[in-house]
């Protein structure tokens, strides 16, 4: 079953001058795979990821996530869709600095609002435990080390049991030991078979260990 279908997607940057970033991209991703998007910088891999993540709606062509066409949907619909079905891990961890680790993990679920606060808290704590940072749960996230913050961010991306987890260079800011730990966690999550991960990276070693590689060159899939 295809969790993601991308058909004939074209994307232009208009600023500073018209530039064809993505050219006629077509591919499909099956459920339960760990897919990496690789390519040189400027090849359009991050741009593609943000299109897939529903945050960028300026494109032509068709993107379907779990059978839902993203093109032409309202901002509010996309926000809710993102909240329920897509988890994010960014390069620079990007936690809310004033909130505790636990609270950071809980936020997407609080926004979704389908469970009460206690069960969300329990689940968030479970995720932190799985990632082995439950001892940092009540600390403000700005006081955590980079590796710890990235693990909190991974926990946050998982809280709503998303169909898709999107990672933009998730290990780009980590040393090799933390990179291995993070990738180990990803592998473990995906191998359960319920979720799909799309990861932008330029680390060829990581790409080799993924299930599928989409390599971009000058905005085309090679």
């Amino acid at each position: 079953m295809n969790i993601l279908e991308v058909n004939n997607v074209d994307k232009y940057f208009l600023e500073p001058s018209r530039f064809h970033v993505l050219k006629d991209i077509t591919f499909a991703i099956k459920k339960g795979k760990l897919v990496t998007i690789t390519g040189k910088s400027g090849s359009g891999k991050s741009t593609l990821l943000y299109l897939l993540s529903t945050m960028d709606t300026e494109f032509s062509g068709s993107i379907r996530v779990d059978g839902e066409e993203l093109k032409g949907k309202s901002n509010r619909w996309l926000s809710n869709f993102r909240n329920e079905h897509i988890g994010f891990v960014f390069q620079f961890h990007y936690l809310l600095p004033e909130f505790t680790s636990l609270h950071n993990v809980m936020l997407p679920a609080l926004k979704r609002g389908t469970h009460d606060k206690e069960s969300i808290e329990e689940k968030a704590y479970g995720l932190l435990k799985m990632l082995d940072i439950e001892d940092q749960a009540v600390k403000r996230s700005s006081l955590l080390s980079g590796g710890q913050q990235q693990r909190v961010a991974i926990a946050r991306s998982l809280i709503n049991d998303p169909l898709l987890i999107m990672c933009d260079e998730p290990t780009g800011n980590l040393d090799s030991k933390n990179t291995q730990i993070a990738f180990g966690i990803f592998r473990e999550i995906i191998d359960k078979g319920e979720q799909t991960m799309i990861m932008v990276t330029h680390d060829e070693d990581l790409a080799d260990r993924s299930d599928e590689i989409i390599h971009l060159e000058d905005g085309r899939v090679v």
Partner: protein
């Protein structure tokens, strides 16, 4: 629409922001509080003074006056005799009319029966010369029926020395304005001469002094009994030149006046005509107060605007993350709008409290004045409506100050920030 749950979540995020930026939040709150406090203090003080001035003026003036005035006849006798001719008469003189009101006693009787009327009194006013030694001062003598007049104007309270009551028992006696007595160098018990318009001169004794606080009255006027003044003028006891009345509801005055003018055929005026400058002045003063207060609040509003705008720049990343996690534009807007409203609400409440305290402190300050005799403390008005207005202004200003930055926050494009 955003659900209550969404709003609650936005509010909880806003609370975390506020807690982490406590000092900035307090500064903004103090700004609003200061604006509101100054507004409350100013309005209370200025309105208090205003009301005081109005009160003393109105206490000493009736809601309605009925009188007669010499008028120029619209048609000349020639017109009546030869209506078809074109007649030209130069230098038409006013008719020689009696200034008294016809059947005034019946009119007073009738008016005093009306439900709307609080008090009514007839009087005879006459221009006179007060002569004492070589001094001769032009002034007014007011022949009154003391009981009725007292109900109208609270005369008893204005008495400085002597007595009003003896006016009816001692013949040729009067109670004189303190300012007038000083000008003539008179004191209670002294005799002076009074010359009327018609030329008669009478000897009269001062049995008391009064002070209203209105210089015009105190320096020119004196009260005598109706009978005394009627005797000076050589007119019968039915001769009355003025009917003055106070109503239970002073806003009814213009309409009552019209009715009475028709009913009795007198001329007249109501308090709105008599005090148009004063009323106009009051309206202007209120405008100034509100103008200054709004300016202060605008400045406080700009403070909030600045702080929130800065905060949004600092929190760009957070906004982008929230949006990536699925928070909608509206959710993000509520986060910042709520902060503004919280600052506004707290600032307003503190402002009202401080404003009240300052106003209260001012109202206990002793203040003595020769002119405002009934005043011993600074006049301050404590009307609830000022506090409601202050609170509303505070909320509106902070809402506007928060609305624009928060709209900006809602429009943040997450990609441009997340990509770095």
């Amino acid at each position: 629409m955003a659900t209550l749950k969404d709003v609650k979540l936005s509010v909880s995020i806003a609370m975390v922001h506020i807690r982490s930026k406590l000092r900035q939040t307090i500064v903004a709150t103090v700004g609003v509080a200061f604006g509101i406090a100054v507004f409350i203090f100013m309005v209370s003080f200025i309105m208090g003074t205003n009301n005081y001035m109005m009160d003393i003026t109105f206490e000493h003036s009736p809601h309605l006056r009925l009188y007669n005035e010499p008028t120029i006849a619209e048609t000349t006798i020639l017109d009546r005799k030869y209506p078809d001719w074109k007649n030209e008469v130069h230098n038409v003189r006013p008719r020689d009319v009696q200034l008294n009101l016809k059947d005034a006693r019946q009119a007073i009787q009738e008016i005093s029966q009306l439900q709307e009327v609080d008090a009514v009194a007839g009087s005879v006013k006459s221009q006179v010369f007060y002569r004492y030694g070589s001094n001769a001062i032009n002034g007014l003598v007011n022949g009154i029926d003391f009981d009725n007049e007292n109900r109208l104007f609270n005369l008893e309270e204005k008495l400085v020395e002597g007595s009003f009551r003896e006016m009816n028992t001692i013949p040729n006696s009067l109670v004189m304005g303190e300012g007038l007595a000083n000008r003539l160098n008179l004191s209670v018990g002294d005799r002076l001469n009074l010359t009327t318009e018609a030329g008669g001169t009478f000897s009269i004794v001062v049995i008391g002094l009064f002070k209203t606080g209105l210089t015009d009255i105190d320096r020119q006027q004196s009260y005598a009994s109706l009978a005394t003044v009627q005797r000076f003028l050589g007119v019968p006891a039915s001769y009355i030149t003025d009917i003055q009345a106070k109503l239970h509801d002073m806003d009814l005055a213009p309409q009552m006046l019209n009715k009475w003018k028709k009913r009795f055929g007198y001329q007249g005026s109501d308090w709105k005509e008599d005090h148009s400058t004063l009323l106009e002045g009051e309206a202007l003063r209120s405008m100034i107060v509100y103008g200054v207060a709004i300016t202060i609040l605008l400045v406080a509003g700009f403070g909030i605007f600045n702080i929130l705008t800065m905060m949004i720049y600092e929190k760009m990343k957070d906004i982008a993350i929230l949006k990536a996690m699925g928070f909608s534009d509206t959710d993000v807007r509520y986060v910042f709008l709520f902060q503004a409203l919280l600052i506004g609400a707290f600032g307003s409440v503190f402002g009202l409290i401080f404003g009240f305290l300052i106003a209260y402190a001012i109202s206990t300050m002793p203040f003595e004045s020769d002119v405002m005799v009934t005043l011993d403390h600074l006049p301050v008005s404590f009307e609830t409506v000022y506090y409601i207005a202050g609170f509303t202004f505070g909320l509106i200003t902070t809402f506007l100050a928060g609305y624009f930055p928060s709209r900006k926050a809602a429009k943040v494009d997450p990609i441009s920030i997340l990509r770095g």
